[in-house]
Structures are given as C-alpha cells and as structure tokens.
C-alpha cells in the first residue's frame, strides 16, 4: 500500500475518530477495553480502506466497519469483563446546558443502554446518530420493518430498565 493512501487514511481517521470512540464507548466498560477495540477497528478500517470507493460517505462507511468489528469480529479480552469499572469511565463528556436532574437522568440512560445486548446497542447507536430506518436496516442486514419493530422494543426495554 502506498504512502499516499496511508496518509489519506490517517487524515480521514483522525478527523472522524469520534465515530470510533462512540462505538467503543457503547461496547466497552473500561479504558483498556476501549483502547483495545479502537485499535481493532483501526486495523479493520485500514484493511478495508483500499476498497472504499468514496460513493458512500466516509463516516457512514466507518459506522459499518466499526459496528461490524464491535459485534462480530472483536474478541473481548479478559480485562473487559470487569463491568464494575463502567462508572469511572462511562461517558466523560459533561454537558453544561443540563441541570442536575437531567444530567442524572442521562447518566442512568447511558447506564441502561450499556445493559442492552450487542444488536440493541447497534440500533441505539444508529438511532442516536439520526440514521433513518433504511440505513439502519442496511447496516444490520435486517428489513426496515423489523428494524422499526426492534427499535420500539428497545425503547420499551430501556423504559423498563429505568423504571423497574
């Protein structure tokens, strides 16, 4: 692979790395695991990059590779099992515009999302990114109707987790 391709890739990844961080945040519970997954997604992105045609948006393409790595290819290392570490790293980004109650609610929401299974997390991630159901169904390989039905179930599940 030539140097130019490598430089282009690094430039794009650096610019859009937040997407990878978001996937890592949803699928891991601690910083070590986050770094591990980030590393694996980077390898997979780079491996697939020569075939990236540019007809899709780079960010959309990144979501697909990132999610595929997280839910299919990634082998959790032993250290990722320690779920109790979740609290300390969860979502460090703090919003200044929310009041305490809302922030508290958000914390609980993020914690609830962490309790979902891998596929449900993928649906939530795509939903939070404002992807439409056609994109969601295409990324996961399920029908649009099923994506919609599942999303409603996930919402219900989250509600149950939050209000047991």
């Amino acid at each position: 692979m030539n140097k130019e391709l490598e430089n282009n890739f690094v430039e794009l990844l650096e610019k859009h790395q937040n997407i990878v961080h978001k996937v890592c945040r949803l699928y891991t519970n601690n910083q070590d695991a986050h770094n591990d997954l980030f590393q694996e997604i980077t390898i997979q992105l780079w491996k697939a990059y020569p075939k990236f045609r540019g007809d899709a948006k780079f960010s959309t393409w990144m979501y697909r590779v990132g999610l595929n790595t997280a839910i299919t290819l990634y082998r959790k290392s032993k250290r990722t099992i320690k779920t109790q570490e979740f609290e300390s790293v969860s979502f460090k980004i703090k919003s200044v515009e929310y009041d305490d109650t809302e922030e508290q609610q958000l914390k609980l929401l993020y914690k609830a999302v962490h309790q979902l299974n891998d596929i449900e997390k993928a649906l939530v991630l795509l939903y939070l990114e404002d992807k439409n159901y056609s994109e969601i169904s295409e990324t996961l390989g399920i029908s649009e109707v099923n994506a919609r039905v599942k999303m409603n179930r996930v919402k219900k599940k989250l509600r149950t987790i939050l209000n047991p």
């Binding site: 690094v10 980077t42 390898i43 082998r75 596929i119 939070l128 990114e129 390989g141 029908s143």
Partner: protein, 212 residues
C-alpha cells in the same frame, strides 16, 4: 420527553468533541498492529487443522520403511492404504480451495448479518473437514484392527485361542474405545469453536430472531 430523545440530544450535542483525541502520529503504528479478530483466529485454526491432518495422513509415506511395511501388512495389501491416502489428499485440496474462497468472501464492509454468515460458513467448512477426518480415522483404525487380527501372524495366533464370543467382545471393546476417543476429540473441537464464536453466534441468533 421520550428517553431516547433526551439521549439523542445529549449525544449529538457532544458529537463533535472527544475527550480522548488520538493524534495522527499515534494512528500510524495502530494501523499496522496485528489484528486479534475472530477471522484471524479462525484462519490460524484452519491452517493448524490443515497441517495437523496433512501430517497425519501423509505420515506413512515419510515414516521408516519398516513402519510402511507393517502398515501394508496390516492392511493386507497396499491398495487399500493408497486409496485411503488418495481420498484424503483430494479432500485436503478441495478443503483448501473452499476455505480460501470462504475467507475471501468475508468482508467487514458487508452488512452485519452477511458478515456473520460468511464467518459461520467458513467455520462450517472447517467443521466438515474435521468430521471427515474423524470418520476417516475411525474407518482406518477399525480396518487396521481387523486386518491386524487376521493377517498379523503374532496377533492372529493370540486371537486364534479365543472363542468367537471373546473375539466379538474384544473387537467391540476396541471399536467403542476408538469411538469414545474420537468423540472426545470432537467435543474438544466443539469447545474451541464454541468459545471462539460465542459472541458471534449469540448476535447472529438475535438478528435471525428479528426475522421470525
């Protein structure tokens, strides 16, 4: 407000910032590190399987002259041995081709379900190969035992003293012994793949469940 809407608002408000920015200098070495994905592991396992059974199948040809003679004597004639080895070699070639094709078809840019299916297909090819080899091992060992008892002068004299009932029981015990040994071998395989593909299988089932 819908819970997810609140989450979305926060998520998108924070979408541009990250608390752990990775510099381009740090990305370069990351790209070239070795992947520890299940596809890579599956690939190494298939190579190991291939080499293991290849050595086992071709061993008689590289073993000492005496061992080869013993084997030929055991099988009564060398044609049986040649036929069995030829079948094994053909199967190995077909397996290498199928495995190569299956590995090539795994693409991380496919949709999640298709990617999972490609990986499971690769695993299935390895499974069939292992099953084939275990069946072949069972056939060759039992055949070997049968020929040894009938054609090996030392062994056949010992068996000649046995009654037909004793002979039947000892053959049964040996066959069951071989079957148990191979079964344990098979369970060991199942365990390795079970652990390796646990997450993938769970997620695949979850996706499939959505379609029912």
């Amino acid at each position: 407000m819908d819970e997810l809407e609140l989450l979305k608002k926060d998520w998108q408000a924070n979408s541009k910032q990250t608390d752990q920015h990775i510099s381009s200098e740090a990305i370069y070495p990351m790209m070239h590190k070795k992947s520890s994905s299940i596809v890579k592991t599956l690939f190494y396992i298939s190579i190991a399987e291939l080499v293991f059974w290849l050595i086992l199948n071709l061993y008689p040809y590289f073993a000492s002259e005496k061992y080869r003679q013993d084997l030929e004597m055991m099988y009564g004639n060398s044609t049986t041995l040649i036929v069995l080895t030829l079948i094994s070699i053909i199967v190995i070639i077909v397996f290498v081709y199928l495995l190569y094709k299956a590995h090539k078809s795994i693409s991380v840019t496919d949709n999640a379900k298709k990617l999972m299916e490609s990986i499971l297909k690769t695993r299935k090819i390895i499974k069939y190969y292992v099953v084939f080899n275990l069946v072949m091992a069972f056939v060759t060992i039992t055949m070997g035992m049968y020929f040894t008892m009938n054609y090996n002068p030392e062994v056949s004299t010992q068996f000649a003293h046995m009654s037909s009932k004793q002979m039947f029981i000892s053959m049964l015990i040996m066959t069951v012994g071989v079957a148990i040994f191979l079964l344990v071998f098979w369970l060991f395989y199942r365990l390795i793949y079970g652990i390796l593909l646990k997450r993938l299988n769970r997620n695949y089932k979850e996706l499939k469940k959505l379609e029912v």
